[in-house]
């Protein structure tokens, strides 16, 4: 690991360590935050007991479904929109403004229409992730060098072959950015929806634990979410950067 990596590890470790010490010494109220070691312990116990497994599976199931739908639908829509420049120009202001709108204001509307089930939660996940995937697809298709079609014709390649073997790999880095954002946005949307109002799910049991003053359970679940979200997102992010670097693309943090 590089020097920077070690420093980072030290910083995070020190922060956690300070939190641990402050909790143990009673500097931080036990009813507000519990010690990190206790959080880990609570999580381990919870996972062993299997009490939350249903909820965990449900939430991750919804997230996965949202991600898959967003990726497939987003890619398809992106391809279609890219092929119709006039439509694309007309939609441009909407795409530019989409993420400025706090989309959760429509969650209660979804509940009113579909009832309090997994469906509005799934819809929130898709609604949040879809446009990121569309934008990623549009960017990727934009950046296919025009020269590739000429090369394909010189090699006597058919349309499908050109699309799969030349265009797709050329667009891949930006497509992957869309995928990466779709995953992280779906995750955020589903958890937040479950937290606000849901019949079940990880977000729901965290908010229950809060209202029941069950700190151990609450922090255990929060820790689980933080660990999983961080692992998934950082893995995707690292892959994204690495593939972009290999292509000589300069990618910003997003």
């Amino acid at each position: 690991m590089s020097r920077v990596g070690w420093i980072r590890l030290a910083v995070i470790g020190t922060a956690i360590g300070l939190l641990e010490i402050s909790c143990r010494l009673g500097l931080i109220d036990h009813r507000v935050v519990i010690a990190p070691s206790e959080m880990v312990d609570a999580l381990v116990q919870l996972l062993i007991s299997g009490q939350a497994n249903d909820q965990i599976a449900r939430t991750f199931g919804i997230v996965t479904a949202a991600v898959l739908i967003s990726i497939v639908l987003g890619f398809a829509l992106g391809v279609v929109i890219h092929a119709l420049p006039r439509l694309r120009e007309a939609l441009d202001p909407f795409f530019a403004t989409y993420y400025a709108v706090p989309i959760f204001i429509f969650y209660p509307v979804m509940i009113a229409i579909f009832g309090l089930s997994a469906i509005p939660i799934l819809l929130m996940g898709v609604a949040t992730a879809l446009v990121a995937m569309i934008i990623g697809t549009l960017n990727g298709l934009d950046r296919i060098p025009r020269i590739l079609t000429k090369v394909a014709r010189v090699h006597q390649m058919g349309k499908l072959s050109t699309a799969l073997r030349l265009k797709l790999p050329a667009a891949a880095p930006h497509l992957f950015t869309g995928v990466k954002l779709a995953v992280s946005y779906s995750f955020i949307a589903v958890i937040a929806s479950e937290f606000i109002l849901a019949p079940a799910g990880l977000g729901r049991i965290i908010s229950d634990a809060y209202t029941d003053f069950d700190n151990r359970r609450m922090y255990a679940l929060m820790l689980l979410l933080i660990v999983v979200a961080t692992l998934v997102n950082m893995t995707l992010h690292t892959l994204d950067q690495r593939w972009a670097a290999r292509r000589g693309l300069v990618k910003s943090w997003s």
């Binding site: 706090p102 509307v109 937040a192």
Partner: protein, 247 residues
């Protein structure tokens, strides 16, 4: 003219969306989703009321404080991490992780510390807005072309002059971009907080209306927030484009 044609196209898309709304309404009925026209009528009656004003004010105040906090903290952190290379290298992945984390998972901690007060909502909103401001500011500083700094030295500018007349203008477009994203996310954070645990505010009104089966109010408030967000974003985008045009 091209501009008019594009505007018409966009209006057509907008009209299609309104029609889709109307169609959905016919499908699911009044109690679930009122149509565009009844919503507008309700809005006209509701906006002037004291109840709306009180709740709008509550949200506005929380949002305002949260925004100031986001911007002040975000800019400070961003500038420090941009100028101090090591801190930037160490801190960037940490900030990115926090950015992609569903921050709602940390909301109970905020609630435990602040209770159901405005400070809690302000903090939660700021938690959302700080990160894009910090990250984009940091990037803006890192991306200053080295040749600008060398030019400043050949022109024999003092350190203060270099910062004010070269570094600052060079970073402004990207920083404004960060401020725009920070605006949207801070608003989202404040509204989420209100939807979950508040007795006032527009976010609260939406959830409350849903629970009382007052669909018209629920949709109207959503529309108000939608318009607010779109207009604010459009204004910031105009500013951003004006600056980017030169760069």
């Amino acid at each position: 003219m091209v501009v008019i044609k594009r505007a018409i196209d966009t209006l057509i898309v907008f009209a299609v969306m309104l029609l889709a709304w109307q169609a959905l309404h016919q499908l699911v009925g009044d109690t679930a989703l009122p149509g565009p026209v009844p919503t507008l009528q309700y809005l006209v009656r509701f906006l002037p009321t004291a109840r709306f004003a009180e709740n709008a004010w509550a949200t506005l105040v929380s949002f305002f404080y949260a925004l100031i906090l986001s911007y002040a903290l975000g800019l400070s952190i961003g500038i420090w991490m941009g100028v101090h290379r090591l801190s930037g290298a160490v801190g960037e992945p940490i900030l990115i992780s926090l950015y992609t984390l569903p921050k709602i998972t940390l909301y109970p901690v905020v609630l435990l510390i602040f209770g159901l007060s405005t400070s809690g909502r302000v903090t939660f909103g700021a938690m959302h807005g700080v990160l894009p401001v910090a990250l984009l500011t940091m990037n803006a500083i890192r991306n200053i072309p080295l040749v600008y700094l060398k030019s400043a030295r050949t022109l024999r500018l003092s350190k203060g002059q270099t910062i004010l007349t070269v570094l600052l203008p060079a970073t402004v477009p990207e920083v404004i971009s960060g401020l725009r994203i920070g605006f949207a996310l801070t608003l989202l954070g404040v509204l989420l907080a209100e939807m979950f645990a508040a007795k006032h505010g527009l976010g609260f009104l939406i959830i409350n209306a849903m629970q009382l089966l007052q669909a018209e109010e629920m949709v109207s408030v959503a529309v108000v927030l939608f318009v607010f967000a779109v207009v604010a974003n459009a204004l910031l985008l105009i500013i951003e484009h004006r600056l980017h045009r030169r760069v």
